[in-house]
Symmetry: C2
Subunit: 300 residues, 2 copies
């Protein structure tokens, strides 16, 4: 796979120097080199296996919600998620899973009252790395930081504040009423138009990187808020494992396009200015329509 | 049902005069009167029945794409759609249906080469009725016009140009390469984050108003672009009927909240500034996250 990528890169790099027609997003991805990608570390990769064997792979975001992610890792290591179920599927909104009984005891070592990990200080280092995609919609700026969709705005006190953004496939922590922030035992993912009114109101902890179709194609719940109305409708979750707990040969390997790369900037620009079938390029792209490239990596 | 609405309206109208807490979107809807709603005319309502009996109801938008809509009405009246299938389900993008063989002859009277109905002149009358929701994202303004999501911007020649917007559930006309605009025999609906790069590139002709879960929960196609790979995977469409072709008693009745009403403006504002569970209101709402209220109407 590495060799193929290098072979493909040569003519496309020449094309970048003197393009006759703009490159498509797919051509830009094909022309990347290994340096344009970062691996997903096995301690940041969750493998959720449904009762029917369907696998949903989730990348965790410990840099943005370290305490909630620590809880989730512990719950996975302890096997706590095994045997819980998907309890809510609301069309154009979320799929949510957890312990339907609400009585399953949490293991030792879980932080019961994590702090609000809804936003963070957007300092100079982050600002330098941030790639802006859009201005003035929900946040002053929305774009990508360290491979994640992020918005940032000045707060009333003048401090610049960042937040992860609720794009399709992002994974968050269900919570009750404020000040509860949730433990991570109840999780959801977005299966519709980005519900950005949830930003800064709930902890985002990761994103589905493969297998979201096992969630998004589930029957919609017919109860209030899309909850399933009976135990027979709930979808069993067989297990949730951290890839780092598996033998090395069994660990799935993924790579994310580096968002601090020139390739990513070119990719965003190409997504905003589609060619071919398109006759009127939009000239813009929503932060949640960038579709950051994530790929299975070849084994070493 | 009308009586219930009136009873509910009285205390809420008082609350509007001297609100102690802001009304929620649901409270605003509950406080509307009949004047805040417009009916969906039976000649603008398609009933698509799937092979398993699931019903998908679609409101047509003849004011924006009259020639494509005339084709669709004719195809429905002639029973042309009966027996075609859903051939494509691409996650976070579209569900598409049509004649998988590509050989089914079109009936007489179909316009084979409709003009581009991708945009329209945004004159003073439309500007006066338009309710702006967001600035400067894809279009200079995006909001609602006559009950539909619309964006508008000045063109290079100074003329202001409007377009329907590809929100979740919007229905469009599949087409080949330009200058083909499609006849309406091949249709799709959006089942993911608004693909606004399609705006101004393809004719939007309506929206799913009920039953989209029968489409959005279908298994994703595993072929390129989410096409089903074999005839056994395709989902049969039993029939597509115009409500106006049914006996009056059998015609489903729906109402759309009038977007030129004070209630709609209040509703948009409440969607942008959620209370209750929310601790940090977004202060904004995406045109595709307004979730325009549409309801089943009581029989006369």
């Amino acid at each position: 796979m590495k060799q193929l990528a290098l072979i493909a890169a040569a003519p496309l790099l020449l094309a970048m120097q003197a393009p006759e027609t703009p490159q498509s997003p797919a051509e830009i991805v094909a022309a990347t080199t290994e340096e344009d990608w970062r691996p997903i570390l096995p301690e940041n990769l969750l493998i959720m296996t449904l009762g029917d064997g369907g696998e949903v792979l989730i990348e965790l975001a410990p840099g943005f919600a370290p305490i909630h992610v620590a809880n989730i890792r512990r719950l996975a290591r302890e096997g706590w998620y095994d045997g819980i179920s998907i309890n809510r599927v609301q069309d154009n909104y979320v799929v949510q899973w957890g312990d339907a009984s609400g009585n399953k005891p949490l293991p030792e070592g879980i932080e019961r009252d994590p702090p609000e990990e809804y936003d963070f200080a957007m300092g100079d280092t982050y600002l330098a790395e941030f790639v802006n995609v859009q201005d003035g919609h929900y946040e002053q700026y929305s774009g990508y930081l360290s491979g994640w969709p992020v918005g940032h705005s000045p707060r009333e006190d003048g401090v610049r504040s960042g937040t992860l953004v609720h794009c399709y496939g992002m994974v968050g922590v269900g919570r009750g009423d404020n000040p509860d922030t949730g433990t991570g035992a109840e999780l959801y993912t977005v299966i519709g138009h980005a519900p950005r009114h949830l930003d800064r109101n709930i902890a985002l902890v990761g994103r589905v990187i493969e297998g979201i179709e096992h969630l998004s194609s589930l029957p919609r719940g017919t109860g209030p808020l899309g909850f399933y109305e009976g135990p027979g409708e709930r979808v069993p979750i067989a297990s949730v494992r951290l890839a780092s707990e598996l033998e090395e040969a069994a660990q799935p390997r993924f790579e994310v396009m580096r968002t601090d790369s020139a390739a990513f900037r070119a990719y965003v620009d190409a997504r905003a200015n589609r060619t071919g079938w398109f006759i009127r390029p939009a000239g813009a792209v929503d932060v949640c329509n960038v579709n950051l490239p994530i790929r299975r990596a070849a084994a070493d």
